[in-house]
Subunit: 210 residues, 4 copies
DNA sequence: GATGAATGAGTATTCATTCAT
DNA sequence: TATGAATGAATACTCATTCAT
């Protein structure tokens, strides 16, 4: 078992090594312009090795999204677990969590959408696709519970909690997308943060009952 | 002149014919999987003909974005021209305009962002790129005037008008993106509309001073 | 007939107009990079019109060679007709004639070789091919008579006349080719002329008996 | 070292394998009609493999010229090194060397000119272009030294050595070109050899002082 | 496991040629 | 005749993926 386990650990380390390289390369060049060769070089491995750990290019790409979704879920779960906090406070915590998610990987986050919408990513293994969908759903429904509580306690405007959660998420991704499209990232990260703040502030206000 | 003009008209018709086909194919397959062959077939033309009207694949793609930006600008200008309306009313009109922009072309609108952010689209002729940037800037600065008026009249919260305009746009695009990524379009357009409504309602509330 | 003849004349004028344009374009870009569109524009005609006068691109190209061969033959015939001149004097005249042929069209002359050697020019109509071969042969055999006379009169070294004619031609074309490959043309035409002179001088010396 | 070296050797072997195939195909079809597919098939490799060893079609083509220039330089250097031989004898050796160069690759030798003169070959890597130019220059200047010595020793006619070297080279290439254009190669190699001999004999006579 | 050389399917683009007007 | 818009065959090159070592 010791040996078995060590191998497992070693294997996971390699996966991470590749994903780190892939993140860098995809971020810089985008999915299409990034070649497996590029990624292999960045990871200081041979192209063939990549295929020992990821079925294909798209699966490697998708795995990056998976990672961020995993991180997102952890953060959202923590927010939910703030036992003493009311919906109001949790909303605030949620916004902070989103900042951190953004910090975790500013560029991949928008690609994640692309991933899900794309007609092209039919090569994903069903398992991976399921994991991604599952994680998304879990996070989103947890977020929705915050809004459900708020609505039930008559603190938030009377909209379906899921719709509010969707809007919250859309707002976040929209800001990232929009500002990314203006290539603000890296150069003016502060501006991005500011705009995110405005967006969430507005969202917070708009959600709360007057 | 008659003959010259007719030719011009005919040429423009062809361009439109190609763009309609391109829109369909790009929407269905995305930029990379869509082949010029596909588009030619959809347009019932030969591949070579496409190149009589568009310099290359990317320019054809970008032209679609241009079209929607032109439509957006027209709509925004109309909103601005509502002389008797206050910032409040104009904000409402603006939201309606955005719905229509979305209806005009639900899928291309997100690709537009991709376009502007992409490192890959270096093949665009400078003129086209300039037109796109120019139209974007014009629309955004007009939208900003609405918020500036609102802030000056102390109706809206005191944020820099441009930041508010950015946030507005980000909100809109975020909703479209997020929901598109869930492939709701076509199947559940109503749901998308609902969510857009919630988003804008929240934005309206959040923007206004209490 | 008047009308018939005028039409014929008009047709010939058009052919010349096209050939002049083609010569310019082929000289500048070479056979492959030159497009029929280019030539049409240079001739201020439409691409379609070119095909009313020339079967295809290669035939148009070959026609330029034909023209120079026609000019060559005329010049060589004049040399032969110098009744009072001995082989010695005729050789000198011949060299002068070659200068003029070169002046007539410095670039096409080397392309002519390419033409004859190319495996690619199978599209030529047999008639045109025959004309080219016929003209080449005629010129060459006339040149050979000069050498035959020289050898017979024991003025030239005792080699087969045809071999001498071949060598003469090869020398000429070689100089043109070699110096063209150094891109001397246009910039240093004088140097080319000088080198041609040296070459012919050497040839003249070498051919004459001591 | 052993392993590194063997790989290097293997790589070089592949390059040669490809060049041999390319030479065959280019010789038969010419640059434009020869497809990379053709060459790959001839080399019993896949098209992609060609690009592992040569940047593009033009560079592959140019590499063939490089090879012959390398051979030429070696031969010329040997001629120069004939310590006891006078200019007269060296000229004779030089002519023999040119025969051998011609034997080495009868068809590519004329394409080499095309290469240097062509406006189209702008895709060559500067390094390769430099190598070609460097080799050409070296050979030519070595050849020129033979003529310089001849002129200085008052054995050759009083012409600038470089001009004589140019003429010598032009004579050689001209004969190859001219006779190639008559498609004599392969079918009547002997005739070509004869003509080269006559040409060189005439050149030799013409160069020497009487 | 790791390698990386080899593969070969896939595609944007060009341009000689045609033909309806 | 002349046009020039439309054609569509032809091809260099890329890169995800494989597999012998």
């Amino acid at each position: 078992m010791g040996i078995q386990e060590r191998k497992e650990r070693e294997k996971e380390r390699r996966r991470q090594q590749i994903m780190v390289a892939a993140k860098r390369v995809f971020s810089e060049k985008g999915f299409n312009k990034a070649t497996m060769e590029d990624i292999a070089q960045e990871a200081e491995l041979s192209p063939g090795t990549l295929y020992l750990y990821f079925k294909n290019k798209e699966e490697l790409y998708a795995s990056l999204s998976l990672r961020i979704l995993q991180y997102l879920l952890i953060r959202v779960e923590h927010v939910i677990d703030e036992k003493d906090a009311g919906p109001d406070q949790k909303l605030k915590s949620l916004m902070e969590a989103m900042y951190d998610v953004y910090e975790f990987d500013p560029l991949i986050i928008i690609n994640m959408f692309h991933l899900q919408s794309s007609e092209t990513l039919k090569n994903l293994s069903p398992e991976l696709m399921d994991q991604i969908k599952d994680l998304s759903r879990k996070s989103l429904s947890l977020i929705a519970t915050i809004f459900r509580d708020g609505v039930e306690q008559d603190l938030f405007i009377d909209r379906h909690a899921v719709a509010l959660a969707d809007t919250f998420w859309a707002l976040f991704s929209g800001v990232v997308l929009w500002l990314t499209s203006k290539k603000i990232i890296d150069e003016q990260k502060d501006y991005l943060k500011q705009t995110l703040e405005i967006a969430f502030e507005i969202f917070g206000r708009g959600v709360k009952k007057s």
